[in-house]
Amino acid sequence: MRVHKVLTIARRDYIATVRTKAFLFGLVVAPILFGGGSIAMSLIKTKPDLKDRHIAILDRTGLVGGALAAAARDKNERDLFDRKTHRQIAPRYVFEAIAPASDPKDQLLALSDRVRRNQLAAFLEIGKDALRPSNPIEASEETDPDTRVSYYTNAGGIDELRNWLNGPINDGVRLARLRQLGIDIDRNRALLAPVPIEGLSLLERDERTGQVREARKRNELEGFFVPFSVAIILAMIVMVGSAPMLQNVTQDKSQHIVETLLGAASPFELMTGKVLGSAGVSVTSSLLYVIAGVLAVNALGVAGLLPLGIVPWFYVYLLTDVIMLCAFAAALGACCATPQDAQNLAIVLLTPCIVPMFMLVTVLRQPNGGLATAMSLIPPFTPILMLLRQAMPGGVPAWQPWVGLAGALVFAAATVWAASRIFRVAILMQGKPPRLAEIVRWAVKG
C-alpha cells in the first residue's frame, strides 16, 4: 500500500465533504441543537409556567384534604417568590375541595372534562378506606380503589405536581391516622419533618499525596445527563461520519468515477483513503460537537461534572467506530447498483449505533450489571456502551475498557480486511446487486 495514494484520496474526499452545503449546515445546526437545546432547557427550568395550578380534591375520608390544602399554602408561602428579587418563580397550587356526589362515575367524568378544558391541572380521589393502614408489600400491588389515592391528569412527561403531592398526601394520611389514634400530633409536628438526603460521590485516596479526598455533592446531571450526552454525541458523530460513505461509494460507482481511480490506486488504497477521509470529517465535526457540549454544560453551570479523563477514550472509540463503519459502508456501497439501493441498506450499516441507543436506559440504570457489561464487550457496540459506562460516576473496572477496545480494534481490522475484499470484487460490477451468499464468499475467499 502506497501511503501517498491513500492520503491523496483521503484529502480529496475530506475537502469535497467539508465543502458541501449539507456539512456546513450540520456544522451550524449541531451546536444549536446540542448547546442551544441545553441552554433552552436551562432557561425553561429558570422560567417555568407561572399560571396557577388548580387541583380538585375528592376526599372520601373527609380527613386528608385539609392537610393537603394546608401543605399547598405552606408551599406557596415558601416557594412562590424568590426571596431576594421577590419575583414569582413557581406556580401557585390552589386546592379545591369537592364533595362526593351520588354517582361517582359521572362525577369523575365531569372532573376529567374540567381537566381537559384546562380548568384543572389534575384531581385527586382519596379512597374512603385510605386511612386504613395496609401492609406495605400488598400496597405496592394492585389495591382496592377505596384504600388508595387516585391521581387523575393528562399532564405528560415530567409532572412536578405529582412528584410534590407524594409527600403532602402521605403526611396528611399519617396525621389523620395518628389523630384517629388520639395522638396530638399538632403539638409535635417536628416528628413528621423530613430528613434531607444528600447524594455524595465515593471517597477516594489521592495516589500522589496519600490523602483521602472528601466526597463531593452529586446531582442527577452527573449520573444521567453527562454520560447520556457523551454517548449520544459519539453515536451521532459516528452516524453522521459513516452514513455518507455509502452514498459516496455508490455515487462513484454509478457515475463511473471509480474505474479511473482504480487505474491509479489499488482497491485497498482507494477504500482506505475514503475511510480516512470520512474519519477526518468525523473528527472535524466532533470538535464542534465537543465545543457545543462544553458550552452546554457551562450554560447549565455543571462544567465541573465533565469527566475529562474519558476524552482520550472518546476519540479512540470515535476513530475505531468510524473506521469500522466506513469500511463496512464502502463494502455495502460497492455492492449497490444505484443510490436507492444504498438508501435501503443504510439501516443495516447503522446497526452498531442503533442497538446501543436502545440499550442506553438499561445501561444507565445498572451500568455494572451483567447485561450492560456483556453488551459493552461486544465489539460493534463497545465504543458507545463502554464510553457510556466509563462516563458514569462509578466508572467501570479498569480492565474492561482495555479488553473492550482490544476487541473493537480486532473487529475493526477484520471489517476493513473483509470489506476490502468485497470492495475489490463488487466495485466494478453492474446490474443486479449480489446476493448475501456471494458477498460472504467474496469476504472469505476474496
Binding site: R2, H4, K5, T8, I9, R12, A16, D252, Q255, H256, I257, V258, E259, T260, L261, L262, G263, A264, A265, S266, L428
Partner: protein, 305 residues
C-alpha cells in the same frame, strides 16, 4: 524488453469466459490496437493489464515486472465508461489524478496539456459545466499526467467530433514518438488501420488476429476486387468466382472464392453493368472483421456446430 507480455491468460465471470487463454506481446514504443465485437473481451483484457481485474490463470508482465501493484504508477488509463467528479474544477481534478499517480505536484504538466487541447480557458470551471467532448478531453489528459510509460485507452475516440478526435490522435502519435507505448481499443477500423502499428482482434475471448495490418492482410491475399459501377451492382445476377458483394455506395467490393480468376469475374461483370474502375486489392480490416465476426460468419459457425 517488451512493454506488455500476456501469457495464457484466462478470465471467467460466473459461467462466462471473458478471456480465454490469451497470449500477446506489446513491443515498447508501439501503438497496439484491440478490435473485436462488443463483449469479445477487449475491456476485460485492458482491465487485467491495468490490474483492475486479476487473471484466473496465466501471467501478465509489464516491462518485465510481474508485480502488478507497481504498474499503476506508470500506466495512464482511460476507461471506456467515462466518469469525473462533477463538482471539481478542471484544474483541481487533473492535479488530483496526477498527484494520485505520481505523489508530486503536476501543475506545470496540467497547464501544458490544457493549453495543447485548448482547454486552458476552462481550467477554473467545474466539470459539470463542460460539454461531453470537453469532458472526454479532460479525462484523456487525466490519463497522461504524469506522462506514463504505458498508455491504455479504451475507446478513446468514441463520441468525439472530428476536431477533438484529430487533437487526440495527434497527441497519441506525439506520445509514441516520445517512447510511450499505447494500447487502445476501438470499433473504428479506419483508426486501427491508420493509427496502429499492431492490431489484435479478440472474438469470444480468444485471439483471432494479431500482427501488423500488412501481415494480417497477407494472410488473406489479394482476394478482393474493388470496382466503381455508377449504377451500383444491385441488378447484377450471379457472378462466377464471387463469394460476396459488398456495396459501399460509391464503390463496391467483390470477395473472390479461393482460386477464382479476377479477369473472368471482370468479363462477367461488364456484361451486366457499366464499370468505370477496377482494382485488385487486399481486404480491408473492416472486411476481415466482418469475415470473422459478421452475420455470415455467425451463420457458418452455427451451421458447423
Amino acid at each position: 524488453m517488451d512493454a506488455v507480455e500476456i501469457s495464457h491468460v484466462t478470465k471467467t465471470f460466473a459461467s462466462v469466459t471473458a478471456v480465454d487463454d490469451l497470449s500477446l506481446t506489446v513491443p515498447q514504443g508501439s501503438i497496439y490496437g484491440f478490435i473485436g465485437p462488443n463483449g469479445s473481451g477487449k475491456t476485460t483484457t485492458l482491465r487485467m493489464i491495468v490490474n483492475i481485474f486479476y487473471p484466473d490463470r496465466g501471467e501478465i508482465r509489464l516491462f518485465g515486472d510481474r508485480r502488478p501493484e507497481t504498474g499503476r504508477d506508470f500506466i495512464g488509463y482511460l476507461p471506456e465508461e467515462r466518469g469525473l467528479y462533477r463538482k471539481m474544477t478542471v484544474q483541481a481534478l487533473l492535479e488530483f489524478y496526477g498527484e494520485l499517480r505520481s505523489g508530486r505536484g503536476v501543475e506545470a504538466e496540467v497547464a501544458s496539456w490544457l493549453e495543447r487541447l485548448e482547454l486552458a480557458g476552462r481550467a477554473s470551471d467545474k466539470i459539470e459545466t463542460l460539454s461531453k467532448g470537453m469532458s472526454q478531453k479532460v479525462q484523456f489528459i487525466a490519463a497522461l499526467i504524469p506522462e506514463p510509460k504505458l498508455l491504455i485507452l479504451d475507446e478513446p475516440f468514441s463520441g468525439l467530433d472530428p476536431v477533438s478526435a484529430d487533437a487526440i490522435r495527434s497527441a497519441i502519435l506525439d506520445l509514441r514518438r516520445r517512447g510511450v507505448t499505447v494500447i487502445l481499443s476501438t470499433h473504428d477500423m479506419a483508426v486501427a488501420e491508420t493509427l496502429c502499428d499492431y492490431i489484435l482482434m479478440i472474438f469470444r475471448g480468444r485471439k483471432v488476429l494479431d500482427g501488423t495490418l500488412a501481415s494480417i492482410q497477407d494472410r488473406y491475399g489479394e482476394d478482393t476486387i474493388r470496382v466503381t459501377a455508377p449504377g451500383g451492382l444491385s441488378g447484377v445476377e450471379h457472378l462466377p468466382g464471387v463469394e460476396r458483394v459488398r456495396d459501399l455506395g460509391q464503390v463496391q467490393e467483390l470477395r473472390l472464392t479461393r482460386g477464382a480468376d479476377p479477369q473472368e469475374v471482370l468479363r462477367a461483370l461488364v456484361t451486366q453493368a457499366p464499370v468505370t474502375g477496377f482494382s485488385l486489392v487486399r481486404p480491408s480490416l473492416h472486411d476481415i472483421f466482418l469475415r470473422i465476426a459478421g452475420p455470415a460468419a455467425e451463420e457458418a459457425n452455427h451451421a458447423s456446430a
